[in-house]
């Protein structure tokens, strides 16, 4: 019995590869297994190789596995492209229709399953995915009825007959393997899971659900990969809580509409990826200057320009920190798991209102689209903090004007929402005085710049960095951000097994850069290795700029469009040590 394994299904885009993975995964999720998925796909609608790799475990996992136990192939290309990942003694389940072959000398077992013809026998070749699912589950030695629930949910509205047919297809696939294998395959039998109900979702879902929980009720946005799912979820759910989504004409409209929504008192977000964020830069500056809260999600993908729209990268960090002309206060939060993405989204809205600044939630493609198990989200941990939002009636003032930009000790001024009597004020992206009138006075200018920028000095948020520092004088500190946390963790396990003392620091608050929190860990480490998905070591450079100690800071970079694997991080760290 094994406690974890890795399964992958591949074929041509548009052929239902995703849903094959989906059904397989959901059934395992229902049994209480922990899952972590990775989708390989192209920027086109139909055609081109795609695959869906799912790691299944009895314990939490947050990394793609290095190797593969089972490969399900709908075409020869899938075998050719992926077989190198297959571990010794692994299994390939392939549609016999295309006469699958394994490369010579490959130590693997090939099951030729007539996916298509079994499906056709049941009425339609469309069900070949189900046959594949059945074959897979038979390898794992799990019962066919694990799928009854999922299949009923998926096809129930098409009638019981369709459900039955699909279940039959699964059964046929399973049966075929059972006969072929002649008894179960001990190396592939999964230990039973704990049967606990857990959520299984992509980071984009977690962000969107987080937004609903945070009280966000409006989202103007423009579609783009890999951000669109956030919008698409909220299109369905916001109306249930009185809110709505507007698909705008472009990203500039999206962000400025979001600024309008927040100015008028509704928690409003927008989401996009690199090209969209680039277009939003001027307006983000407006939010910073007018001290209007706004939450912007950046699901990073391969850049620059249109780049690699369906590939992993973390190369927007610099532009998120510095992209706006002039100088504004701003907060950047980068969650590392879907669970964190949920809570961080809520925190993003809170910080935006408390500090009256734009907050960027920095996600990346692997987090945005990789489907993963999430422990039950805790309703009681949802906290809504609106900062200095005035909710009581205001006294009449002599001037009739409300000091929206009152100079206060912490730089944050009371904020009033339009509609309130005696709260009338004017906001402007031009430099302004306490009541929001344009002012070129140099003293006022300095006061206002200091007010805005100093807000960030007092920033308080839980866990600006996530630390796993077992050692007082580690050989190496490995630093990362975003979705790479789990991968780095697994690499560290291996490094420690080699006898190295390794601390881990994951930067969750990327701006204002948490210098004080990072410094001691950099100081006490012999070497610091920063692991990131970009070519110019953006995170490492932040540490150099803010913390110093250039000589011990090294980089492990990956910018080929693929996410890190634990083995790559392990190997490259070893080489640097």
């Amino acid at each position: 019995m094994i406690s974890q394994l890795s399964w992958k299904v591949g074929g041509q885009q548009g052929e239902g590869i995703d849903s094959t993975g989906e059904i397989f995964a959901i059934a395992l999720n229902r049994k209480g297994y922990y899952l972590y998925g990775y989708r390989h796909f192209s920027s086109r609608i139909k055609g081109g190789h795609t695959n869906n790799k799912i790691r299944v475990s009895t314990k939490p996992v947050h990394a793609i596995s290095d190797d593969l136990d089972i490969l399900v192939a709908f075409d020869q290309e899938t075998i050719d492209v992926n077989v190198h990942e297959l571990r010794k003694g692994g299994i390939v389940i392939a549609d016999s229709k295309f006469n699958p072959t394994l490369p010579e000398g490959k130590d693997a077992r090939l099951f030729n399953v007539p996916f298509t013809s079994l499906a056709e026998e049941l009425g339609t070749s469309l069900m070949k995915n189900m046959v594949a699912v059945g074959a897979s589950i038979a390898v794992l030695g799990l019962p066919v009825d694990s799928f009854t629930e999922v299949v009923t949910e998926l096809f129930g509205r098409k009638g019981q007959k369709v459900v039955d047919k699909n279940m039959e297809a699964i059964a046929k696939g399973a049966e075929f393997i059972n006969t072929e294998a002649g008894g179960n395959l001990p190396e592939f039998q999964l230990e039973p899971a704990d049967g606990q109900k857990r959520m299984f979702m992509i980071g984009n879902d977690a962000v969107a659900l987080g937004a609903v929980a945070a009280g966000a009720r409006f989202m103007p946005a423009y579609p783009i990969s890999p951000a669109s799912e956030i919008m698409e979820y909220l299109i369905k759910k916001l109306p249930q809580v009185g809110g709505t989504v507007i698909q705008t004409e472009d990203e500039i409209a999206a962000i400025t509409m979001a600024i309008g929504g927040n100015f008028a008192g509704v928690r409003t977000l927008t989401a996009s990826a690199g090209p969209g964020l680039a277009l939003m830069m001027e307006a983000i500056g407006l939010a910073g200057m007018t001290e209007t809260p706004v939450v912007i999600v950046d699901t990073q993908r391969g850049g620059p320009s249109t780049g690699l729209p369906t590939k992993q990268e973390q190369s927007d960090l610099n532009s998120m920190i510095y992209g706006t002309h002039g100088e504004i206060p701003k907060i950047i939060l980068a969650p590392s798991t879907a669970e964190e993405a949920f809570y961080d989204t809520i925190e993003a809205f809170n910080l935006a209102e408390e500090y009256q600044v734009p907050v960027i939630l920095l996600s990346d493609l692997q987090l945005a689209l990789g489907k993963q198990t999430v422990e039950t989200l805790d309703y009681n941990k949802i906290e809504i903090r609106r900062g200095k939002l005035v909710d009581k009636e205001l006294p009449e003032t002599e001037s009739g004007l409300f000091k929206r930009y009152e100079l206060t000790e912490d730089g944050v001024s009371p904020r009033v929402i339009p509609g309130m009597k005696n709260g009338i004020h004017h906001v402007t992206g031009v430099e302004h005085n306490e009541v929001g009138r344009p002012s070129e006075d140099s003293k006022n200018r300095i006061n206002m710049m200091d007010k805005r920028l100093n807000k960030m000095n007092n920033l308080k948020t839980a866990n600006p960095v996530i630390i796993n520092a077992k050692h007082n004088t580690p050989d190496v500190l490995i630093v990362g951000m975003g979705s790479n946390r789990g991968t780095i963790e697994e690499a560290i396990e291996r490094l420690e097994n080699d006898g190295l003392k390794v601390n881990q620091l994951h930067v969750r608050l990327l701006w204002p850069f948490p210098v004080e929190e990072i410094k001691p860990y950099v100081e006490n480490a012999k070497t610091v290795i920063v692991v990131e998905n970009n070519a110019t070591a953006q995170l490492a450079n932040q540490i150099k700029m803010h913390v110093g100690m250039h000589d011990k800071i090294k980089s492990v970079l990956k910018y080929d469009g693929n996410p890190f694997l634990p083995s790559i991080v392990y190997k490259e760290c070893k080489e640097l040590l």
Binding site: R30, M201, R217, G242, E249, T256, F263, I424, P438
Partner: protein, 288 residues
């Protein structure tokens, strides 16, 4: 009920003496009072340009944004709080050059806001370059030999974009302009008012007198029917757009907010932020 004086603040506009924008401001203040608004229930969202300063000269909530984006900001405000009266306003460069796409899309989206353009056929604040409203042959700082592009027609574009209230007026006609702005505010849906508002400093061609001479009131056209789209187009084409009055109005089209499934009459901004625990559980369960 507030009088128009209550929409005044103590800020002295920094417009040049004689600038057309002064009466636009006065007209908005009067119209706001006439339709029965209170200052705190009005939000004026402006672009960048001489005209864009208007948000700071009216006693109401004001947002002076970035160049060309008054409309998306204004739409965001209205969606967040539909109890507010929202006026977006700016120059012809702001709305028809850098902001052109937003203008077209706001028109077709039909959210219930009013958009007032101070159309002076030039870039005032940047000191006299050509605008999309400058006529062919017009000499400006950026077209010393005369413009070689033709002026756009905001009225025809508006009608083509599905706008439901399309009007044009002159800043010299305080009364007529005020009436139109009142009707625009009262119109349910997006209303667009283009105001010929002369720039006395940089535009020596399209002056007060020029407009008086060239602009024809629709009231002079017998049986003009503002619900007839084709007629409206024809009249515009025949008069090279130099007409004033309500050119087109469609009262049958519902405003966007009224078409959003489940969108309440109460301002979104006033609704409770907290999610019902049962609903949260249900949402979570969908991922299980």
């Amino acid at each position: 009920m507030a009088t128009f004086k209550e929409f005044r603040n103590n800020v002295k506009p920094n417009w040049c003496p004689g600038c057309g924008d002064f009466t636009v401001q006065a007209s908005i203040q009067r119209a706001a009072a006439n339709v029965g608004l209170e200052p705190e229930n009005l939000a004026v969202i402006a672009g960048i340009g001489c005209s864009g300063r208007i948000a700071g000269y009216i006693h109401s909530y004001g947002f002076h944004g970035v160049h060309g984006r008054s409309l998306p900001i204004a739409q965001g405000v209205k969606m967040a709080n539909r109890e507010l009266t929202v006026i977006a306003s700016g120059g012809d460069g702001d709305g028809f050059a850098i902001g052109m796409s937003h203008t077209i899309h706001a028109m077709r989206r039909n959210i219930d806001i009013t958009y007032i353009v101070m159309d002076n056929q030039i870039y005032g604040l940047t000191k006299g370059q050509t605008s999309p409203r400058s006529s062919a042959g017009f000499v400006t700082k950026s077209t010393p030999k005369g413009s070689i592009e033709s002026a756009i027609s905001p009225m025809q574009l508006a009608i083509s974009s599905g706008a439901t209230f399309v009007a044009q007026t002159m800043s010299s006609d305080l009364k007529g302009m005020t009436e139109i702005i009142e009707k625009a505010i009262n119109h349910k849906g997006f209303s667009f008012v283009n105001v010929f508002s002369p720039c006395v400093t940089f535009n020596k061609i399209n002056t007060y007198d020029w407009f008086k001479e060239h602009v024809k009131s629709l009231s002079e056209i017998e049986n003009y029917d503002p619900t007839n789209k084709i007629q409206a187009m024809r009249v515009l084409m025949e008069n090279e757009d130099l007409v004033s009055g309500i050119i087109y109005q469609n009262e049958n089209q519902k405003a966007y907010e009224d078409l959003v499934p489940g969108f309440k009459q109460e301002a979104l901004a006033k609704q409770d932020l907290t999610l019902d625990p049962a609903q949260f559980e249900k949402l979570c369960a969908e991922f299980m």
